[in-house]
């Protein structure tokens, strides 16, 4: 009896999911402005001997354009202000803002411009683009997972790994990992 209920539930879930996703994406087409409220750009850097340190950027702006007829023509632009970095430790924040890492005075913006978006699942996509920091540009990849669409608000969970050494921010390796793990929640509002 229990097995039959479970089977039924599984079948219902299988049926419901693609329909749901299709509805979601059909509704999603449009341009969104990333709002700081409801969004967060967090990162983690592993530390030798275990653990790591976490930080977040408090200020950023950007747009998401979703083209449902041709997902590949969807676009993401994101600008992060490194001056707004926060780790909960003031001395580390000052170090990150200094020319040891971000050089926020001379390079006040970190920019990401997508070059291609490809669907990888019902609600997931691989976003490839060009990341520019401290005057250096390299291609980077991020995974975007649609987290919700309600009214004119769309929400993505975005993850990706970036090698900081390429952007002239290799200070502290190998004490601190060269890999920066990004974990972002981007909420966009239509228009």
């Amino acid at each position: 009896m229990r097995a039959r209920i479970l089977g039924l539930a599984a079948a219902a879930a299988c049926l419901a999911m693609p329909v749901n996703a299709a509805v979601v994406l059909g509704d999603a087409t449009g341009s969104y402005t990333i709002s700081q409220a409801g969004s967060a750009i967090r990162f983690t850097i592993g530390k030798a001997g275990g653990g790591g340190f976490d930080g977040a950027f408090a200020r950023f702006k950007g747009t998401i354009r979703i083209d449902n007829n041709d997902v590949g023509r969807s676009k993401v632009d994101l600008t992060i202000y490194p001056e707004s970095v926060g780790t909960g430790q003031g001395r580390i924040d000052a170090f990150l803002r200094s020319d040891a890492v971000f050089d926020a005075t001379n390079s006040p913006e970190i920019q990401f411009r997508s070059t291609s978006v490809s669907r990888t699942g019902d609600t997931t996509a691989l976003v490839t683009g060009r990341l520019t920091a401290r005057g250096k540009t390299f291609p980077e990849k991020f995974t975007a997972d649609l987290d919700g669409l309600k009214g004119g608000t769309i929400k993505f969970h975005v993850t990706g790994k970036v090698l900081r050494s390429r952007y002239g921010m290799d200070v502290g390796t190998p004490l601190y990992s060269n890999v920066v793990d990004f974990d972002m929640t981007l909420t966009g509002r239509r228009g």
Partner: protein, 189 residues
């Protein structure tokens, strides 16, 4: 081979090499410490501090080796020409030098262990040196930073006294106290 260990008339190579190696690194560490806290570039300062930590752990290892060697080896007595006051004060000065050699790297280790910056220690990028199990706090960090600072200045003053005494032995008293710490072929007489 026989010149490695100490005898009752001279120092052996092991003592001599450890003495000068530790002396050079000790003075280098003082200079590095002085410079690194005054460096404007945060990146350079960070790297100098990591080098200072690496050298500090090396120093601690060498000092433990040196104390073990000292305890297991005879030390030649001072030449007969040395006066009574010096005969009594020299061992005290040497004991104080050993205390500072141990206390300085240990206080530095305590400082990085309690620091709220939680920067790991990785001597010469070879391995992760665990922290001492001391609770971290801003108060503990500033305490150990001050302790390390005072010990460094007191230690370098003691080293200066030690150098002056050695030079006095060599140039004024004209005895073998300095030269016997340079080569085993210089005996106590």
């Amino acid at each position: 081979m026989q010149t490695i260990t100490n005898t009752t008339t001279r120092y052996g190579w092991a003592t001599i090499v450890l003495h000068w190696l530790i002396g050079i690194i000790f003075i280098g560490q003082f200079t590095l410490g002085f410079v690194m806290v005054r460096t404007q570039s945060q990146r350079t300062a960070f790297e100098l501090i990591q080098l200072h930590k690496s050298l500090g752990f090396l120093l601690l290892g060498l000092i433990i080796l040196r104390i073990a060697w000292r305890l297991g080896n005879a030390a030649p007595p001072l030449p007969p020409s040395v006066g009574a006051l010096e005969r009594r004060s020299a061992p005290l000065a040497h004991l104080a030098l050993y205390v500072f050699q141990l206390a300085l790297p240990l206080s530095g280790w305590a400082l990085v262990s309690v620091s709220t910056l939680e920067i790991p220690s990785m001597p010469f990028n070879l391995f992760v040196m665990p922290n001492l199990s001391l609770p971290e706090s801003d108060a503990a960090e500033s305490f150990w930073a001050s302790a390390h600072w005072y010990l460094a200045y007191a230690g370098i003053a003691l080293v200066a006294l030690h150098v002056c005494a050695a030079l006095r032995h060599h140039f004024l008293l004209r005895d073998s106290v300095l030269t016997r710490m340079i080569t085993p072929s210089s005996t106590g007489e």
